[in-house]
Symmetry: D2
Subunit: 352 residues, 4 copies
Amino acid sequence: MIKVGIVGGTGYTGVELLRLLAQHPEVQITAITSRTEAGLPVSDLFPSLRGRIDLKFSTPDDAKLTECDAVFFATPHGVAMAQAKELLAAGVKILDLAADFRLQDVKEFAQWYGLEHSCPEILAEAVYGLPEINREAIKKARVVGLAGCYPTSVQLGLAPLLSQKSTGGSQLIDGTHIISDSKSGTSGAGRKAEIGTLLSEASDNFKAYSVKGHRHLPEIVQGLKAIAGHDQIGLTFVPHLTPMVRGIHSTIYARLTEVGMSVDYQALYEHFYQDEPFVDVMPAGSHPETRSVRGSNGLRVAVHRPGNGDTLVILVVEDNLVKGASGQGVQCLNLMFGLPETTGLTQIAVSP
Amino acid sequence: MIKVGIVGGTGYTGVELLRLLAQHPEVQITAITSRTEAGLPVSDLFPSLRGRIDLKFSTPDDAKLTECDAVFFATPHGVAMAQAKELLAAGVKILDLAADFRLQDVKEFAQWYGLEHSCPEILAEAVYGLPEINREAIKKARVVGLAGCYPTSVQLGLAPLLSQKSTGGSQLIDGTHIISDSKSGTSGAGRKAEIGTLLSEASDNFKAYSVKGHRHLPEIVQGLKAIAGHDQIGLTFVPHLTPMVRGIHSTIYARLTEVGMSVDYQALYEHFYQDEPFVDVMPAGSHPETRSVRGSNGLRVAVHRPGNGDTLVILVVEDNLVKGASGQGVQCLNLMFGLPETTGLTQIAVSP
Amino acid sequence: MIKVGIVGGTGYTGVELLRLLAQHPEVQITAITSRTEAGLPVSDLFPSLRGRIDLKFSTPDDAKLTECDAVFFATPHGVAMAQAKELLAAGVKILDLAADFRLQDVKEFAQWYGLEHSCPEILAEAVYGLPEINREAIKKARVVGLAGCYPTSVQLGLAPLLSQKSTGGSQLIDGTHIISDSKSGTSGAGRKAEIGTLLSEASDNFKAYSVKGHRHLPEIVQGLKAIAGHDQIGLTFVPHLTPMVRGIHSTIYARLTEVGMSVDYQALYEHFYQDEPFVDVMPAGSHPETRSVRGSNGLRVAVHRPGNGDTLVILVVEDNLVKGASGQGVQCLNLMFGLPETTGLTQIAVSP
Amino acid sequence: MIKVGIVGGTGYTGVELLRLLAQHPEVQITAITSRTEAGLPVSDLFPSLRGRIDLKFSTPDDAKLTECDAVFFATPHGVAMAQAKELLAAGVKILDLAADFRLQDVKEFAQWYGLEHSCPEILAEAVYGLPEINREAIKKARVVGLAGCYPTSVQLGLAPLLSQKSTGGSQLIDGTHIISDSKSGTSGAGRKAEIGTLLSEASDNFKAYSVKGHRHLPEIVQGLKAIAGHDQIGLTFVPHLTPMVRGIHSTIYARLTEVGMSVDYQALYEHFYQDEPFVDVMPAGSHPETRSVRGSNGLRVAVHRPGNGDTLVILVVEDNLVKGASGQGVQCLNLMFGLPETTGLTQIAVSP
């Protein structure tokens, strides 16, 4: 059994990790920390876990995290990098659900997150946690910075178009003017007392936010450059808040190059993802729905070319708390410990 | 492996059965029928099942249901009773999610459901599918008429108060004037094209329905009489439609007798359900939420006595599609085939 | 034009007052205060009012409230009573949307609201703001303590059964064991940053709360006693949170006395409310929906007697922010200033 | 008083017309027709209108529509064109909420709507009902084909960028590759018994639809060409279904030309719409919300230029049933009958 600790388990990625890990056959949750809730049984805070998790929140000091095999950080950014060094020294593998180990450029990190990176040397060895792109590196990693929720959907939506693996170096699309119009449920905003995401405010309502620049923009661009193998990437990324709890739907627009005009994209996508257990290329003409993956680790993608013109429209859905966060975390954990990648991740979506 | 067939798998109880049975380690789904969708892959109708169920809908004639070990009816009432005789003759066990085998009184059945019962002799041997009350009978049953969604919540909410087992024959409450104010999500209305349950009609809205008499009323009363061991039962049952998908919340009001005034109800409920894997008596003062059991087979109950007066308030929550229908069906299936009762039913609620 | 000030206009009753008063032909809003938002244009906080309200929030000190003809308090309890004396001295009429002037018994106020009443002498002259019951007193009042949202629905639902006016002193129901199972949208919880009413928490969810005792209980009981003209009133009141924004639905259960068994309740209700502009007695057999009054000052009531038995079921719907709060406030304002009662309150419900 | 008839008043645009017209000081509704509901009081079908509309549905034959001054068609396409000739001959003005008089090209109409146009000569004189673009022509029109819901949002979002009036012939954007990613509430799908828009299906869910081509695409393109004064327009239009009742949010992406790089778009938009009563250009940096216009005839637009790059992002919100349909109809009616344009359209949005 892998002994797993969770730092900061009081948010939505925390409770989702608990749901998944409690059903994972090879994991034992040995510690879960929260400064604010120390002493409280986990199932008092999250009644959905009554009878399934028999643990109390402990303070970070009492948690004996160094005795774990792996520790998840389900915390705001800035926490994981403060504790990483000690954990690594104790031989503990780290999976960060926040942004501390996502952006390789410390200046960019400082610019978007408003604080200096405290362990650039660990950042240098950290692996970006997006298994469909980075599987082999994740297997060997000591530190994984898990891909963000929006970035997972946009990168996996575009990977077949940009990857050297599938395009053989041809530019199929104009990578400098990609658009991702992305929509998220409110759980993406976290379990925080805020007026803007009250049911009274956010239901029967729809709006964009952060149009001038969202923190996930540099992460996505970094990832697309890596996938493409070049730096000629430009992205307009507009996130929106949708009156639902779970789910991200990214609608991605890309303009074809002349070379790109003669490609069969349905075949390209199906081939690219043929061996992926969690990526499902939908039949031609499909419109995937977020609820079709609710509660599961699946991501679904459909590729359209309206009017056979020069604009591709790629539709991607995922559950932001599973494939966009905690499920992806478990997927990486499986890879890091040599388990079959789908272990503990076979939940079927709950629908309706 | 138990070979299971499903008749009429295009509704919400059907897709929920598929979700549960596809993850059940001892079941093989061998047939699923639908006249209207025959030939269609199940996962085309229910994209949440893509990659998990590799079956097509077949016509009832092609389905070879007589080769199954057990057949679920996830159909409107009237279908199961028409096919029961042939299936029983072939040695197939029957679990009906509709009402054909719930009401023992054929006159009452005719009155509430508007058609004559076509096989009273099979009805006579049918067992009411509510394991917490009827476990031993279910184990031996060939035909189980699964308890309805509302009836499950009301009967399990009241059983500790009425059962000879716990009350030793004392009347703790005035059983002649029980009130159940019950609220259901819209999935209880089924997957039917109707205006009243459109999102545009039912969201941001709340209403009662069928106040003059709902079909579940005679079923609940029959069940409460059986639990109580006497006929002095009167119930006012008012169902309401709530703008959510899954979940039933029954708020039950019962007036205490003089004997009943001195009982510790928290202890009574905890003791009554101490060995039940799916019934969770909440700590004193709790207000269980429907989402805490969403997607799981759990039912939660809390008992209150406001102002220490003579009125008990019992709060019960369940997922109407799981413990209120398909999950209860699997629970009964497990009992009928000698499996541990929780087999395939260990899903943790999806929350948020 | 009546010069109106609003103290504490940053909550939902505040913005709803603004919506109604901005369209009121006889009112000029001259001041709106908020300590936290002083200096901010009202339409920056509430974009729905852009172009319709050209006012900034001011501090209570700058607001010159004493120059108003009437002042609404859309504040937490405790604020109105602190400022009432000075306003009354300046000849300003007071309408309090909070609880400071609802409960006549200062001990009860202290017990339920946790603070001493600071001006019992003003409380003594305050009139309870429920026009259908108290119309004449409101016309002459200097201080009106507006009825709460739940209390409005329960009292108007029961008034025909309890009122001397309609019953002529007969007890039609057992007033000592009334049950009100009430459901509210989340706007009733106010515009407050709290986790429990986040969309991620409260949507697709249903729960009871405050079963052991809600602050509206003593208010309702006080009101029912006044309506009945005697003290033999007992109420079990269970509020529930429904995943919608606006609306209250109270389902009220009352047991008939022998005298009550022979009464035509449809006729009784229709007669009782025949002249009321905002109370609509629905046709026999109706199930009123909350959305049918959304955004309007209407309250709808239907009376049922299932199975012609001895239990009456009364269904009441209202918009908690309009008839349950700000609309009722405007209705009282009209009465206090000699205007037709419906002035500025003719909005038709928004549906769907 | 203008005598107004409504053909086909049983859908959402019908009930919304009734809500608006019942409060319109210069309109008398004299007839409302429905073949299926003939004889039924309007307020029985739409309880929100109880006490406000005292009319019954009549058959088209009994309705004496030729005695009206104006007739609205709130019907599926194909109905208005069948009755237009007779009504015009009787001197009745026609406002069609469906598509019969939107597309000037009868071939295009046949292609997208699947039927031949039956009165091309009337189509030739019909005016497109989008007052901000076509005000003078609407004033003189006998037949108005009201702009569709999505088309209103996209055209008004783009008009300042394309209009000769504001651009003086310069191409500020590449008009051949415009993208509109549009999101609608479910009321846009109409009051029809369908499975896809059940609350159980559409809530907590998000999906695109009709990516290969939606009927509003040719309408929008026709309109944009007219606004631009040239034919070099290409649009990728992707509509999405959002789990809410009312509201459209269009997120529009346009690439700037070199000339366009030096323009102040905030000023351009504010100037273009400075005299419009129903179009509100939001302050720079705003993210308008659909609920801020819910129930009102307002449309709000914000223009962004992320990173000061070459891609403009225009955000547009409207209530699809008001500015996107029935409110726009009333606005056109006012123009056609010489009334102030805002008559009967001063409702403030209902929020929360």
